[in-house]
């Protein structure tokens, strides 16, 4: 290599002013967003795949699924959006594992940044990632006839519930991402967990048509409460039938509760696992 010769000189040491949590996290978010821009395929899981799901269910299976009080497309969209948000945990886990594996996290940790900025930056960019997916779903939905029918306040509240739940799922992702060694392992694990979680629920079909035991599981699934909440807030379906389990009778409140509970369980586990992983 040819190295431009510079004569030895007195070093001018710039002032190192340890960045605030905000500045450090924004820098990491910026970096992750550049990744998304340069590798749009990273968005496939929350865009093209989700759109395919919408079209598949709306036009192929939808005709065979009877729902009360709304068209199947209206019924479907909230479910798909919740699924997208649940996958935020897979997104964050894969990103974190990849950074841990490549030594990027170590590089960040050798710098004078606030300890939490790696996780905060990762979480925010994953939420943005998933929100892009939700936005794509919303546009797709609008094109095929989905509408927000109950006004702005309820409409926004439903999106806020989605984000809150995504936030809870991110802690699950950080936990899994800190425990696993390879991106492939994370992918395998997350998809094994995510699919039953999002399918044994009211996302694609009403639980009333399931066997009793499965229906009980589906109705207590946090995903169902959130989906029911979005449907009711957006006016995409009737309230749950009178014989549905208790969570579906109070979906908004229960969604908030689930999000808080999952955060309370997974956040400490995630932080502990991440700390342990980054001690040796």
């Amino acid at each position: 290599m040819t190295v431009t010769q510079t004569p030895p000189r007195a070093p001018v040491r710039p002032e190192i002013r340890p960045p605030s949590l905000l500045r450090a996290s924004s820098a990491i978010v910026w970096r992750n967003l550049v990744h998304i821009r340069r590798m749009p395929e990273m968005l496939l899981d929350v865009t093209v795949q989700s759109v395919m799901f919408v079209l598949l269910f709306a036009y192929v299976f939808g005709g065979a699924i009877a729902v009360a009080g709304a068209s199947y497309k209206e019924f479907l969209l909230p479910g798909i959006m919740v699924q997208t948000m649940v996958f935020a945990s897979a997104v964050v886990a894969m990103g974190l594992t990849s950074d841990l594996q490549k030594g990027i996290v170590d590089r960040f940790r050798s710098l004078p940044v606030p300890r939490s900025s790696v996780l905060v930056g990762r979480s925010i960019s994953s939420l943005i990632h998933s929100s892009i997916g939700v936005a794509v779903m919303a546009v797709t939905g609008l094109l095929i006839g989905w509408r927000v029918r109950n006004g702005v306040v309820d409409g926004v509240l439903a999106f806020a519930l989605l984000l809150l739940f995504g936030f809870a799922m991110i802690w699950l992702g950080i936990w899994v991402g800190s425990l696993m060694r390879t991106v492939e392992a994370v992918q395998g694990f997350m998809f094994t967990v995510m699919f039953p979680l999002t399918f044994v629920a009211n996302t694609f079909a009403p639980p009333e048509s399931m066997p009793a035991w499965l229906r009980t599981i589906a109705e207590w699934n946090p995903v169902s409460a959130l989906t029911q909440a979005c449907r009711e807030l957006w006016g995409n379906g009737l309230p749950a039938p009178a014989d549905a389990a208790w969570p579906l009778q109070h979906p908004v409140l229960v969604s908030v509760g689930w999000s808080l509970l999952l955060t309370a369980v997974f956040a400490p586990l995630a932080v502990a696992a991440f700390r342990r992983r980054s001690r040796d």
């Binding site: 290599m1 190295v3 431009t4 030895p8 070093p11 710039p14 960045p19 170590d106 050798s110 004078p112």
Partner: protein, 333 residues
């Protein structure tokens, strides 16, 4: 009160379960000097560097960097150091310039400084042309250089380099050595690990030899060579017929003379230069013709063999490290 040394390890240990990766290592690196941590693969070099750069918490012992305890004051340590890890940890998706910008922000440097210093570094490391291309397309050597440039952005007074030249071709290696010597001339303290005896010999003021987690020798390169055996005077005769006469002559001046069978060469143990000049004078008076007379010191390779009982592994010769074999200059598509 005198200023604390740049880096200090006191009985530093790291155990992974039963396995003692680092086991009671101590050394001191005075400000402005270069310490070479020399050892074979698996010796514990990376683990030592990770503890001193706050990435790994010691099982026992103390590490101090810039006067700060790595365990108690990691934030203050991080303000004083730059680290280039064993694997290049630059971001592949970002361009070279974006990597500098990212790390600059994380050091809390002003944007103006990052822009100016970044351009200078890109120029200095011969990366200016590639600055706006994603790192994915860089060769191994370019990545290494960018990694180092990124570490230098904040002009840290103490720099840790973990096997900085592993996997580089000889030309890139000597180029990097020049850069490192410049940095030291500018007052930077350097701690570098290496498997290459030659590299430690070239760059380090002090060498600490580690094997299986323990320090097995420490000293200047010259001191280490002295430990492996004394210097010797090597005489090459013009005529093989003089061999016996020459041996007799030399025996009067050295306790141990070795004649290489079938050659014209004799080796005599010697204390140093003075013995050599004395032997030279004796030959001058004797009329025996010489082709060559010189002082030979053991190489660091000999030292390593002497200390560890095994040669530095063949796989660790410069540029042939199997793990980083593809990471050589010109490997870019």
């Amino acid at each position: 009160m005198t200023a604390p040394p740049a880096v200090e390890a006191v009985d530093l240990s790291k155990h992974f379960g039963e396995h003692r990766a680092v086991d009671g290592v101590s050394f001191v690196v005075p400000t402005g000097t270069v310490l070479g941590l020399l050892g074979p693969n698996g010796a514990g070099k990376t683990t030592l560097v990770r503890m001193l750069t706050t990435l790994s918490v010691p099982t026992a012992g103390t590490g101090r960097v810039a006067g700060f305890d790595v365990r108690e004051q990691p934030d203050l340590v991080r303000r004083s150091i730059g680290l280039t890890g064993q694997a290049a940890t630059v971001d592949e998706i970002l361009t070279g310039r974006e990597n500098l910008r990212l790390i600059g922000s994380l050091y809390g440097l002003s944007r103006a400084h990052v822009r100016r210093a970044g351009d200078e570094l890109l120029e200095r490391f011969d990366l200016a042309d590639a600055a706006d291309r994603p790192v994915k397309g860089y060769s191994g050597g370019m990545r290494r250089r960018l990694d180092l440039a990124v570490s230098l952005l904040a002009v840290p007074p103490i720099l840790f380099l973990d096997e900085p030249t592993t996997g580089l071709d000889p030309q890139s290696r000597s180029g990097l050595w020049d850069v490192l010597r410049d940095l030291v001339a500018e007052g930077t303290t350097l701690v570098l690990t290496t498997q290459y005896l030659e590299e430690a010999d070239h760059l380090a003021d002090e060498i600490v030899v580690v094997d299986r987690g323990r320090v097995i020798a420490a000293g200047t390169p010259t001191q280490l060579k002295d430990r492996a055996g004394r210097a010797s005077v090597v005489v090459t005769l013009t005529h093989a017929a003089d061999l016996d006469a020459a041996a007799a002559l030399m025996r009067d001046h050295s306790p141990e003379v070795h004649v290489e069978p079938g050659s014209r060469r004799l080796t005599a143990q010697a204390g140093g230069l003075r013995d050599m000049t004395r032997i030279a004078a004796v030959f001058d008076d004797s009329g025996i013709e010489l082709d060559d007379l010189g002082l030979a010191r053991p190489s660091l390779d000999d030292v390593f063999l002497h200390l560890t009982g095994h040669r530095a592994e063949p796989g660790t010769a410069p540029g042939t490290d199997p793990e980083s074999a593809p990471a050589t200059e010109g490997a870019a598509p």
